[in-house]
């Protein structure tokens, strides 16, 4: 299983994205980061840290659990429900530019659910999407604004993002089909 991004590469990529955020938004006024659980959350926190180093500003950061908005809930005849975890957004998203952060962009369905969830919290000025890996195969008209790495994949493969905070190490691995 080939490692497509190692710890150094992930670190450099997030630093580059942080600079792109500052450039594109002409600073970080009115900006907030919202990480999609699970691995979007540590990525959002790292970006907030880097942005503080660059601009000296503290960026409000929250976490979003999209389980209750999934489009595959209740579609299966019977089956256990996926685990719900807590959403934690301690600031108003009204009139803010929300940077939505996820680890992998694939079908776009998680992002669709995240957009619906966010809108229930208020009316942001804009929502921009940040992903560490875009692996293609979109099933919805969704596109990322900041991409760490474009990774062409086949649907049989799976992309595993591992982060120190959740998995003890930083790396992105491409697993070939057949693996569970």
């Amino acid at each position: 299983m080939p490692v497509v991004m190692d710890a150094d590469r992930i670190g450099r990529t997030l630093t580059r994205i942080a600079h792109e955020i500052v450039e594109r938004n002409k600073g970080t006024d009115d900006i907030a980061l919202v990480g999609v659980r699970t691995r979007g959350v540590p990525i959002a926190r790292r970006l907030a840290r880097t942005l503080r180093e660059i601009t000296g500003q503290e960026i409000p950061t929250g976490s979003l659990d999209i389980t209750l908005y999934r489009d595959d809930l209740m579609r299966h005849a019977v089956g256990p429900q996926p685990l719900v975890r807590k959403t934690d957004i301690q600031f108003s998203i009204d009139n803010r530019k929300i940077l939505l952060v996820d680890d992998v962009l694939y079908t776009g369905r998680t992002t669709r659910a995240a957009l619906d969830a966010l809108i229930d919290y208020g009316r942001p000025k804009a929502i921009q999407l940040i992903v560490l890996v875009d692996r293609g195969h979109r099933e919805l008209p969704i596109k990322a604004d900041y991409v760490g790495k474009n990774l062409p994949t086949s649907p049989e493969e799976s992309v595993q993002v591992r982060l120190t905070e959740t998995d003890g190490e930083d790396e992105v691995v491409l697993e070939t089909g057949g693996a569970a």
Partner: protein, 326 residues
């Protein structure tokens, strides 16, 4: 999306309720109880949003079938259902004695013909929910059956304790009141002992079930012994409607011997929590200044009831997992 499901697969911990119904706490494992309480934490956050509604149960129909009067529980279930976007309807049947046995089964089968997904049942007969669970395809949630169980009340009590104390294990919990007629007591004893609390029950000897110690609790009629160094004091309602027998001389005497007063709660730990499942009889089982005092979490219990019921509804909506378990 694929990462989320993979993560669930990795954990061997209980991440789903693999059952059709919630009939009582007795049949739940400690892990299943923890899952419901953890899920309720996420659900509680939904109630703090500007838009207090999530689409999780869109298109599901829930019938609240209440054969006994109830304000708190029925309202709480209805709000929980609406916050999850389920379609709800309420059927309240008065406390007439005709609703028994066959009649209950017939009512349920007629409702089933309209394809609801879940039935929340409150009934005066112990075991009414078990009967429905055998004959209905819908998920059955017990909202109180006779003197048997009231599982969502025990879950919301545990949630409220855990929110304050961060754990249940090794806490001394004193439960004082009508032990004989209380389904809240039975559900709470099952839950608290499963999660490792030290449970003391207290009431007049005539209201202590003879085999109560079999459930791993301490029983006493000396209220001071029960509340001494307690972390939690839970009061049970003196069920005036079930007091046709002479269980104790008078309500005034009950208050004098067992009523929770400020003097008595001073025997407990300094951060004791005072709980009551409602409706309260002020001046019988609890003094007004205790009910409204700084240690009381009675209204927190009501607020948490919605979150806990959302968790139960959500988790049961997946249904039982049949033989396909991995």
């Amino acid at each position: 999306m694929n990462t989320a499901s993979q993560e669930v697969d990795q954990k061997q911990a209980v991440t789903a309720l693999r059952r059709k119904d919630l009939l009582g706490i007795a049949e739940l494992s400690p892990e299943e109880i923890e899952l419901i309480l953890d899920t309720a934490e996420a659900m509680k956050e939904v109630g703090t949003r500007p838009i207090k509604k999530v689409p999780a149960l869109r298109g599901k129909t829930v019938i609240n079938l209440f054969f006994e009067p109830s304000t708190r529980t029925r309202t709480s279930f209805e709000i929980a259902e609406k916050r999850l976007s389920a379609d709800t309807l309420n059927i309240a049947i008065g406390t007439s004695s005709v609703v028994k046995g066959e009649t209950l089964a017939d009512t349920a089968l007629n409702l089933e013909a309209m394809s609801p997904d879940m039935i929340v049942l409150r009934h005066a007969s112990s075991g009414a929910c078990h009967l429905l669970s055998r004959i209905c395809r819908s998920a059955i949630i017990n909202a109180g059956d006779g003197m048997h169980e009231h599982p969502t009340q025990a879950l919301l009590d545990a949630f409220t304790i855990r929110e304050r104390k961060k754990r249940l294990a090794r806490l001394k919990v004193a439960i004082v009141g009508d032990l004989l007629h209380s389904r809240v007591l039975r559900s709470n004893i099952h839950l608290l002992t499963k999660l490792g609390a030290d449970v003391w029950v207290c009431g007049p000897p005539t209201l202590i079930p003879t085999d109560i110690r079999r459930f791993g609790v301490n029983a006493t009629s000396v209220v001071e012994d029960a509340v001494r160094d307690a972390d939690v004091i839970m009061l049970l309602r003196i069920q005036l409607e079930r007091m046709e027998g002479a269980y104790f001389p008078s309500l005034r005497e009950y208050f004098r011997v067992f009523g929770m007063t400020e003097a008595r709660i001073r025997l407990a730990k300094s951060d004791v929590m005072i709980m009551h499942p409602g409706p309260m009889n002020r001046g019988v089982e609890i003094a007004s200044e205790v009910a409204d005092g700084p240690y009381s979490v009675i209204l927190d219990q009501v607020a948490n009831g919605v979150a806990v019921r959302m968790a139960v509804l959500y988790l049961l909506a997946g249904g039982a997992e049949h033989e396909e378990a991995a």
